[in-house]
C-alpha cells in the first residue's frame, strides 16, 4: 500500500516518539554511568556527557585507580554477578524442564483433576509476594536452605513455574496432533514421543519460556533480599548498597545498574523473535 507524503511524515514522527520513549531512559542511565561524578551535578544538564570516564566501571572491575575499599567493591560485585547468573540459570533450567513435562501432561494427557490443578497453579501468579513471605522464610530456615542456591532456586521455581507451564501447555496445544498419532501407531511410547518428536518441534516455545523465566529471575529483588543475604547475593540486591547511610554513590549505582541491564538487552537484541512468540503464545492462543 503506497502512503502519501503526509502519512509518511506522520509515521516517521510516530516511530521517533516510540523509540525515544523506549530507549531514552536507558540511554540516560548509560550516559550517567559514563559521566564523572562532579559533572552529574551541573546545570543546565548536558544531554550528552561532556567528558567520558570509565572510572565507575573500573571501580566495579577492580582495576585502574583503586581507592582503599574498592577491592571489596570489586570482589562483591564479581560475586554478585556470578550469583545472578547461577541463580537465574538454575531457576530457568529447572522451571522449564518441569514446565515442559507438566505442559505436555496438561495439554495431551487426560488425568483426574487436570483442569482444576492447572487453574490453581496458574492462579498463584496473582498472589502478592508478601502474602507468602514469612511462612516461606520459616520453611527455608527449617530446611536449612537460607542463603543457598538450592533455596533461592526453589523459590524462583515456585514463582516462575506457573507462567512457564502455561506457556508450554499452549505451545504443545498448538502443535498438530497428527505427528504424534502417527508415532503412536508406529508403537512409540508417550515419553519417546515427548522427548524425540514433540520437544524438537516445541523448541522455539522452550526458548521463549526460558527467556521469560531467566529475565524474571534476573530482575528479582525482594526474594533475594530476604533469602540470599550474603553468599548467594545477586546484583539487584548489591546495587542499592552503594548508597550507604552517609553517601549515595550515583556513579557506582548507575554503572552497576547498566551492567545489570546489559544481559537483558543482549537477550532482547538476539533472541527477540522467541521472546515475542512466547509473550503472545499464552495469551492469544
Amino acid at each position: 500500500m503506497e502512503l502519501r507524503l503526509s502519512q509518511r511524515i506522520l509515521l516517521g514522527i510516530g516511530f521517533t516518539v516510540l523509540i525515544l520513549w523506549s530507549i531514552g531512559p536507558i540511554y540516560w542511565a548509560i550516559a550517567t554511568s559514563l559521566t564523572p561524578t562532579p559533572d552529574l551535578m551541573s546545570q543546565p544538564i548536558h544531554f550528552f556527557p561532556q567528558r567520558l570516564t570509565a572510572y565507575h566501571y573500573e571501580r566495579l572491575a577492580g582495576f585502574g585507580y583503586i581507592a582503599s575499599n574498592d577491592v571489596t567493591v570489586a570482589l562483591q560485585f564479581r560475586n554478585a554477578l556470578v550469583n545472578s547468573i547461577i541463580t537465574s540459570v538454575l531457576a530457568t533450567v529447572i522451571s522449564v524442564f518441569l514446565a515442559t513435562l507438566g505442559g505436555y501432561a496438561f495439554a495431551r494427557l487426560t488425568f483426574p483433576g487436570r483442569t482444576v490443578i492447572f487453574f490453581v497453579v496458574i492462579a498463584t501468579i496473582a498472589i502478592p509476594g508478601y502474602t507468602v513471605l514469612i511462612p516461606l522464610y520459616r520453611i527455608m530456615i527449617g530446611a536449612k536452605l537460607l542463603d543457598t542456591y538450592t533455596g533461592v532456586t526453589l523459590i524462583y521455581l515456585s514463582a516462575f513455574l506457573p507462567l512457564a507451564l502455561w506457556l508450554m501447555r499452549s505451545v504443545f496445544q498448538q502443535l498438530p496432533l497428527s505427528i504424534e498419532e502417527a508415532a503412536r501407531i508406529d508403537g512409540a511410547g508417550r515419553l519417546t514421543i515427548l522427548f524425540r518428536i514433540v520437544m524438537p518441534l516445541a523448541a522455539p516455545g522452550l526458548v521463549a519460556a526460558s527467556i521469560i523465566t531467566f529475565l524474571g529471575a534476573w530482575g528479582q529483588y525482594m526474594v533475594p533480599l530476604i533469602f540470599s543475604p550474603n553468599k548467594t547475593k545477586p546484583l539487584t540486591v548489591l546495587i542499592p548498597e552503594f548508597s550507604t547511610k552517609n553517601f549515595v554513590d550515583y556513579g557506582l549505582i548507575n554503572a552497576g545498574g547498566t551492567i545489570a541491564m546489559i544481559v537483558p538487552i543482549l537477550i532482547v537484541i538476539f533472541l527477540n523473535r522467541y521472546l515475542v512468540s512466547g509473550l503472545t503464545a499464552g495469551s492469544v492462543k
Partner: protein
C-alpha cells in the same frame, strides 16, 4: 598503622574482649557467627576479629533501607537473622516489647556502660538490648568558604542569626538556597523536625505521652512554621519536598547548601573526602542554633544487639565487646569515619587531633539527651511516618501548619491505642 601499634591494639582488644578467660587466649576459636550490618563498614572487620579470636565472621551487609525488612522477617519467623545485628535507636521500643533481643546488662561490665553515655537509649525496663558502636547526634555543619565570602566570621548560635546569615548568603549570590532541610516523607525529615522542636524550646510529649506540639506557641508548631517561612523567603530549596537527608548532604557536598541542619558529626568524613565531595576542606562545625541561644541536641546512635534466638551467644558477645572496645572504636574512626561511642575513645581521638572542630563536637556531645525521656515508644514508626507526611504536605502548601500538627496528634493518638 605500624606493626607495633597494630599488635598493641590487637592485644588490648583481646584483653578487653576476654577478661574472664585471660588464661586461654582463643577459647572460642573455630566457631563461626553471622553479623548483619549496614553497608559501608570497614572491610577489615571480619579478618581482624578472626585474627584475634579465631572466630570466623560471616559479615553480611545490606543497604540501610533493606536492613529492617530483613531483620523483621527473621525475627517474626522466630529465627535469628544473624548472631549479631544492627540495632538502631528507633527500634528500641518495638524490639524491647517483642523481647527479641538478649539482655546484655549482666554481660557487659559496668565500667564500659559508664563509658558509653548513649547506652541508656538502648535500655528498656533495665535491660540493655544493644551496645552502641556508632554515635550520632545532631550538630550544625556549614560551608566555611560560603561564610568567608559573605564576611561571616562566627557560626550562628540563634535562629535569628541563622536566618540573617542565610539571607546575606542568598543576597550575595553565594548559594541560591543556603539552608539544607529534607522535607520529603522520609525519616530524615522527622528527625530534623524533632531537633527544631527542641531548638524552639519545645518538646514532643509530656510524661503521659500527650503531644506538646499542637498549640501555636509550642516548639514543634514554631519549627514547622519556620520551614514554611523559610520556603517563602527562598532560603530553603522548594525542591526539598522531594529530598531525603542523604540528598541534602549530597547538595552540601556539591557546594549548593551553606548550612546542613539535619546532620551529625559522622558525616564529616564523607564531606571531607575529596573523591566524594567538591567542598572537601571547607567543612566547619557549630553548635545547633536555637531560639534562646542555648544549644540543644539529641542522640541517634546505632548499636549491636544479639537476637535471643541466636545459638552462638558467647561468640556473638565476644564480637560485640570487640567492636565496641576503645581500641577498635579508635581504629574504626580512622578506617570508616565512625563516630566513637565511648567517651574515652572520643577524648583520645580529639587529643590526637583526629576530630574536626573537636572542641565543638565535645561541647555538643555534652548536651546530647535521648529523644524520648521515657524511652522510644512502640508506636514510634507510626509517629515518625505521621510527622514526615504532615511536614511534607505542609511544605508543599497542601495543608496549614495547624492542620499538620493536628494530624500528627490524631495519628499518634490512634497509634497509641492499637
Amino acid at each position: 598503622m605500624n606493626k607495633l601499634l597494630r599488635t598493641t591494639v590487637a592485644l588490648a582488644a583481646l584483653a578487653l574482649a576476654m577478661p574472664a578467660l585471660a588464661d586461654d587466649a582463643k577459647p572460642l576459636a573455630g566457631q563461626s557467627i553471622t553479623v548483619l550490618l549496614p553497608s559501608g563498614q570497614s572491610p577489615n572487620i571480619a579478618s581482624d576479629f578472626e585474627k584475634e579470636t579465631g572466630i570466623k565472621v560471616d559479615l553480611q551487609m545490606l543497604s540501610w533501607d533493606d536492613i529492617r525488612p530483613k531483620l523483621i522477617t527473621g525475627l517474626i519467623a522466630g529465627t535469628p537473622p544473624a548472631d549479631v545485628t544492627e540495632f538502631d535507636w528507633s527500634w528500641t521500643g518495638q524490639f524491647g516489647a517483642a523481647g527479641w533481643y538478649e539482655d546484655l546488662t549482666p554481660l557487659i561490665d559496668a565500667e564500659s556502660i559508664k563509658d558509653m553515655p548513649t547506652a541508656s537509649i538502648f535500655t528498656v525496663d533495665g535491660k540493655l538490648l544493644g551496645v552502641p558502636y556508632a554515635n550520632d547526634f545532631r550538630i550544625l555543619i556549614a560551608n566555611k568558604d560560603h561564610l568567608a565570602k559573605a564576611g561571616i566570621t562566627k557560626m550562628p548560635t540563634t535562629i535569628d542569626e541563622l536566618i540573617a546569615d542565610a539571607k546575606l548568603i542568598k543576597e550575595k549570590g553565594i548559594a541560591e538556597y543556603p539552608l539544607g532541610v529534607p522535607l520529603s516523607p522520609s525519616e530524615g525529615t522527622s528527625t530534623l523536625w524533632y531537633l527544631m522542636t527542641f531548638a524552639f524550646g519545645g518538646d514532643l510529649f509530656d510524661k503521659d505521652w500527650k503531644p506538646l506540639f499542637t498549640s501555636p506557641d509550642s516548639g514543634g508548631y514554631k519549627a514547622l512554621q519556620f520551614y514554611v517561612d523559610m520556603l517563602k523567603a527562598g532560603l530553603i530549596d522548594p525542591a526539598s519536598t522531594g529530598l531525603k537527608d542523604s540528598d541534602v548532604h549530597q547538595m552540601f557536598m556539591d557546594g549548593k547548601v551553606t548550612f546542613d541542619l539535619g546532620v551529625g558529626p559522622g558525616w564529616v568524613g564523607a564531606f571531607e573526602d575529596k573523591t566524594k565531595s567538591k567542598i572537601a576542606g571547607s567543612t566547619t562545625l557549630g553548635l545547633v542554633p536555637t531560639e534562646s541561644g542555648k544549644t540543644v541536641s539529641y542522640g541517634l546512635p546505632e548499636a549491636l544487639g544479639i537476637p535471643a534466638a541466636s545459638e552462638k551467644k558467647e561468640a556473638a558477645l565476644a564480637f560485640v565487646k570487640w567492636m565496641t572496645s576503645k581500641d577498635e572504636q579508635i581504629k574504626l574512626a580512622a578506617e570508616q569515619g565512625l563516630l566513637a561511642t565511648r567517651t574515652s575513645a572520643f577524648e583520645e581521638l580529639n587529643k590526637q587531633g583526629k576530630i574536626l572542630d573537636g572542641d565543638v563536637v565535645i561541647e555538643q556531645a555534652g548536651t546530647v539527651g535521648p529523644l524520648f525521656k521515657q524511652g522510644t515508644p512502640t508506636w514510634y514508626p507510626q509517629f515518625s511516618s505521621a510527622v514526615n507526611n504532615a511536614i511534607n504536605q505542609a511544605a508543599k502548601g497542601e495543608i496549614s501548619v495547624a492542620d499538620a500538627m493536628k494530624s500528627i496528634a490524631d495519628e499518634t493518638a490512634k497509634a497509641q491505642q492499637q
